[in-house]
């Protein structure tokens, strides 16, 4: 678990083998450290710290489009944002809701599914190498191509899926999949699952493979079922990895915008707040509103992620 790393360092820093700058070749090492860290730290200061502080600053400002300068706007942006979310103006309400639906999707659907897939594949069933290789394909192909191929497949008139349904005599099931608010969001979600399992599968497979053989073998001798093995041995053993994957998925949910942008242009009830931010900046030059939305989501996201983390850590303690 990444965060618990921080506490681990404290212990590991006591590791006597590490160089203690105070005692060892003071100046030379110090210079080395400074040279090595200068660029990464500067990079972080500019692209992470400065950008975030500036976002905070912008969220209290507004762009004057006729002068190209920012002016102080107080809480105007936040007011506008909340108003838009509450009244669902320009689908802001839906975008806000979707961000949290995505959180649920990433945490409660994709991670468990990936875990099941990884568990099944860990049994070295026939073709497991083939499956592992194919499942990872969405991660090596650009999302632009992936979404393009996906939209070809689900296109209403010449698309693969509708054509297939028609041939199977299921014409009543054909839909305008990506162009109907009743099916578009579900379709985008299905896309995310379809393309998202591979990566988690790889990481979780790695963890499952490291479970000591003796544990699994002795359990087998005890005659437990696959289900029991999965629930009582596999999940607790790889829990730290599950935590990492879950937290990564949770934070990713607040940044999702490319999938809806490329699949539906954010229409038909599929937008997210992150996509709204991108649209406001690139199309409208509404830096203020975009920043206020960014800050709001960062705060809500941090709270949500903390809650999830707390829950995960509690389980970890129970098992250890």
């Amino acid at each position: 678990m990444i965060l618990s790393d921080i506490s681990k360092i404290e212990n590991k820093n006591k590791d006597k083998k590490a160089i203690d700058v105070k005692s060892h070749k003071l100046n030379k090492s110090k210079l080395f450290i400074i040279i090595m860290l200068a660029w990464p730290v500067a990079h972080w200061l500019v692209f992470t710290l400065f950008m975030n502080l500036q976002t905070l600053v912008y969220s209290f400002q507004r762009l004057n489009r006729f002068t190209g300068k920012m002016r102080f706007a107080g809480t105007e942006n936040y007011m506008e944002l909340f108003e838009k979310i509450i009244n669902n103006t320009a689908s802001y309400g839906i975008a806000f809701r979707n961000t949290f639906l995505w959180l649920g999707l990433n945490v409660l659907v994709i991670v468990p599914l990936s875990l099941v897939v990884a568990y099944v594949l860990s049994k070295k069933i026939p073709f497991h190498r083939f499956f592992n290789a194919v499942l990872f394909i969405p991660n090596i192909i650009s999302i632009v191509i992936l979404t393009m191929v996906w939209s070809f497949a689900w296109a209403p008139n010449q698309g693969l899926v509708n054509e297939l349904l028609t041939r199977l005599g299921l014409e009543h099931l054909t839909r305008v999949w990506l162009g109907d608010p009743k099916s578009a969001l579900i379709n985008v979600f299905v896309y995310c699952v379809w393309a998202g399992i591979g990566f988690n599968n790889l990481i979780l497979s790695g963890a499952i493979a490291k479970i000591p053989k003796e544990i699994l073998e002795s359990a087998e001798l005890d005659g437990i079922s696959n289900w029991q093995e999965f629930i009582h041995i596999v999940i607790p053993s790889v829990w730290p990895t599950i935590c990492t994957v879950t937290i990564l998925g949770a934070t990713a949910a607040f940044r999702v915008f490319l999938h809806p942008q490329l699949l539906t242009n954010g229409q038909y009830g599929t937008s997210t707040i992150a996509l709204k931010v991108v649209e406001e900046v690139l199309a409208g030059g509404s830096y203020g509103l975009a920043s206020a939305a960014g800050i709001t989501m960062a705060v809500l996201g941090y709270i949500a992620v903390s809650i999830i983390k707390k829950f995960l850590d509690k389980r970890e303690k129970e098992w250890s």
Binding site: V41, F127, F131, F136, I137, M148, L202, V277, A290
Partner: protein, 277 residues
């Protein structure tokens, strides 16, 4: 291995996984088949096999689009971006894992914070920053990729933590400099992690769409991903889908090939270095 599945469960798993794998592959086969058709043939039927396999669309994709120059940009960018990112990440991770100094914890924490606070809103200042600095070009992109405090750093960090320090101590006694110890001894020892991280980073940069789409304004100087997207946009104005299909195949082929070659390495990299547990 543990307990084996019973027959029905195994059958079910195989069927489901095959269906899933097929759904991942079939769309490409569909695109491949249609890339050999003429435009009107495609609109007549998207399912039939092409009347004859001709490569007109491929020739057109290469000639009418800037495909080759997209490839050039992507290759240069991927190589430079990957090398810089891997070295920066390895260097930072090495220092943080092996040297004890004031601020060590702080810097590591700085990197971790990025994972926990979902920042989706920094686009506006980034945009203004790029405008003010004139970095709306490939140099800006290289600068953005040359980060040393991301996921890659965390992977290297856990790897360096595990590497024994005794080799370094011996080298120090022989009078090697800090840099030499890192570059000649410790970094080579992290070879497994380096390979895995390099492949993943290269694939990510090769496939990155969002940053290049914002930073690269010159239509002649686009990456493959962005170029393909503009081709897709362009199709809305001249409707030659089959040419786009050919372009998709051309663009995907190199990554697929590289993946087939390095597939084991990638999996292994995750097994050994892995994301922290």
């Amino acid at each position: 291995m543990g307990r084996k599945f019973s027959k029905p469960v195994l059958l079910l798993a195989e069927v489901l996984l095959f269906a899933y794998a097929l759904s991942l592959i079939f769309p490409y086969i569909w695109v491949l088949i249609n890339s050999f058709k003429t435009v009107s043939e495609f609109y007549n039927s998207t399912w039939s096999l092409p009347e004859k396999f001709d490569f007109t669309n491929y020739a057109r994709a290469l000639k009418e689009t800037n495909m080759l120059s997209y490839f050039k940009t992507s290759i240069i960018l991927t190589i430079i971006g990957t090398v810089l990112q891997v070295i920066c990440s390895a260097g930072t991770a090495y220092i943080l894992a092996k040297y004890k100094f004031r601020g060590n914890k702080l810097i590591y924490g700085m990197a971790i914070v990025g994972f926990l606070i979902p920042t989706s809103g920094t686009l506006a200042p980034l945009y203004v920053f790029l405008k003010d600095t004139g970095l709306f070009n490939i140099y800006g992109l290289v600068v953005m990729y040359a980060t040393g405090m991301g996921t890659n750093m965390v992977i290297f960090y856990s790897f360096f933590k595990k590497i024994s320090w005794s080799y370094a101590e011996a080298a120090f006694i022989d009078g090697a400099s800090d840099f030499k110890v890192f570059w000649k001894i410790m970094f080579p020892m992290a070879r497994e992690a380096t390979i895995a991280v390099t492949i993943i980073t290269a694939i990510n940069i090769w496939n990155d769409y969002f940053l290049p789409s914002i930073l690269l304004t010159n239509p002649e100087l686009q990456t493959v991903a962005v170029g393909l997207r503009s081709l897709q946009v362009q199709q809305q104005y001249n409707a030659t889908w089959t040419v786009l299909f050919a372009a998709v195949i051309i663009a995907t082929l190199p990554t697929i090939l590289i993946y087939i070659i390095f597939q084991d390495r990638i999996a292994k990299g995750f097994l050994i270095g892995g994301l922290k547990e």
